[in-house]
Symmetry: C2
Subunit: 118 residues, 2 copies
Amino acid sequence: MSLIDEIKFNEAGLVPAIAQDATTGRVLMMAWMNAEAVEQTLSTGYAHYYSRSRGKQWQKGETSGHVQKIVDIFLDCDGDTLLLKVDQTGPACHTNRQSCFYRQKENEAWRIIEEPKP
Amino acid sequence: MSLIDEIKFNEAGLVPAIAQDATTGRVLMMAWMNAEAVEQTLSTGYAHYYSRSRGKQWQKGETSGHVQKIVDIFLDCDGDTLLLKVDQTGPACHTNRQSCFYRQKENEAWRIIEEPKP
């Protein structure tokens, strides 16, 4: 039984993958993988995802250079979510912020807690 | 514009929510919320989710007592994923482990790195 056989992909053939900075523990982003992205991630050691909006495979950082080197991979109890601990090169967010989770609830609004890198 | 208005729920009316231990930084679980679960979480200060398998709302810990007190809530750049920093009472996983991510890739297999609490 291979690693991939134990992953439960959803009806669209996808599994959510959470990327966490291996050094700081900060949660950087959540994206989706299909089986091919999992295989590409395992074989290259760098995070690959599947873009639902663009309908294609992508390596994180393929254009920005902001790649994610895999340190550890975890599978959850239900087998339907992956957690990646990564060495993140540059900002993880396409807005040029370290994390995609840069909006924090403050009372009744989302407050931006991180500005894009210059 | 309310907090919920900025959240992009998927075609099933759901948004994934990652729960992270506010103290240790460990990622504990990922579950889904509908708008009602978000409202319940905001109004009570404790994590509520929507169970896709059972088709109903649930408060995390409603039977086990292993509740999640909300410390902070973050929304990602696309508005389609939530990150909860929580004070977790007891184990987060229904298998009685601290985190649902207790299987770690080791070579070509998933190795169990945490045993259930006695």
